[in-house]
Symmetry: C2
Subunit: 229 residues, 2 copies
């Protein structure tokens, strides 16, 4: 019998690790830490932290993200638990992996650098400590699955964006080139975007309409985008 309740069993250290995706210059980015202390000094790792006993793991992940980036209301989704007994050489730690989306254009770069975090290109990322590479792999899998079922980008793109920007995001996610005309039609028919009245003329002379996500877009149970090979 222990203080915290009716149960008596061995307890565990529980951590969260965040796979933080960003998007900039038609490229997916990952927010990583370069460890500045032993063990594994100088090596790259995900952003993580401990779970307290008065918070859910989601709350813990949010707290960690808030600490690193200064942002609250970040999009978060559980990936899975990593729990091999020897996964962390520093001791027995369960870790719950989360993936998060962050808008790269609108927050304080100095804050994250002051915490030792850095953005790296997802597809040229260094290898990471412990099982963090597996975590990134799993998160990327989940990102691709999610993007095939619903239109993502609300938390990665600016408030208003052109279809070119959205298509480039999808190109970056699946490492492919979607056909401009077909992508446009496929996206518009699902009716989750609202066309605005102003245009962006930086990328084209003609100017492309800005779009933004509608408030209440009901999601489909089936694929909207086929996953390329």
């Amino acid at each position: 019998m222990n203080q915290s309740g009716l149960y008596n069993h061995v307890k565990q250290l529980v951590a969260v690790d965040c796979i933080i995706f960003g998007y900039e210059a038609s490229e997916l980015k990952l927010l990583l830490f370069k460890r500045e202390l032993e063990p594994a000094i100088g090596q790259w790792s995900l952003v993580g932290g401990w779970v307290n006993d008065d918070e859910s793991v989601e709350t813990a992940a949010r707290r960690v993200l808030k600490y690193i980036t200064g942002l609250h209301d970040i999009f978060l989704e559980q990936v899975q638990v990593f729990s091999k007994p020897d996964r962390d050489p520093g001791g027995r730690v369960l870790s719950i992996a989360f993936f998060a989306f962050i808008r790269l254009d609108c927050f304080d770069k100095d804050l994250i650098t002051s915490h030792g975090a850095k953005w790296v290109p997802l597809y040229q990322r260094p290898s990471l400590i412990f099982d963090h590479d597996q975590m990134v792999e799993k998160a990327l899998e989940r990102l691709r699955l999610k993007a095939s079922y619903e239109l993502i980008g609300k938390e990665l793109l600016p408030e208003k964006f052109t279809l070119l920007q959205l298509r480039n995001l999808y190109n970056a996610i699946y490492q492919t080139q979607f056909d401009p005309g077909n992508f446009r039609k496929k996206i518009l028919v699902i009716n989750t975007l609202k066309r605005l009245n102003d245009k962006n003329t930086t990328a084209s002379k003609k100017g492309a309409y800005y779009y933004q996500f509608k408030e209440n877009s009901e999601k489909t149970a089936n694929q909207i985008i086929k996953i390329p090979n």
Copy 2:
């Protein structure tokens, strides 16, 4: 600094809870426990257990399933962590939900009843303690998603089965009626089943070929079955 390693932070009780699916008589079943002690005596709950510090959460789930059913090599998949601080009135417990498949035709019913477990029809299940109803909902969601991406049934149906049995399983999963001819063609074209030379004549006068799953069936990244509304 504590005995188990370099880290020093508050630890948590960690449990696993298993959503155990079975299939019998064209119906999905769920293996539940009727609690025989306070608190919540007489109420239904999922099968669960504690996580030890020398095992992964998967190993813990397997251990629990082995204890209840006597079976090892059970199919298991993580659903997600449930971790609201007040989710268990008995104290702060993190729980990792798993879903599992069990063949109802080939194991010892007495063993599970001796442990107080009972099979109930999934769609007429009683309400469960704590957040276990949410766990079942999430697991069912994941089951449906999984069944839409790959042919399931290997761990739910007998070793050899007819396409009627497989179709009835899918009917039960999605609570719908798939067209016999179209279902057959859709399933056979993905080339994961092997037709045997003997037939089953219990359901039809003509007799239906038995099938079984091939050893090494590569899975597709895209949907094989559209999720009905």
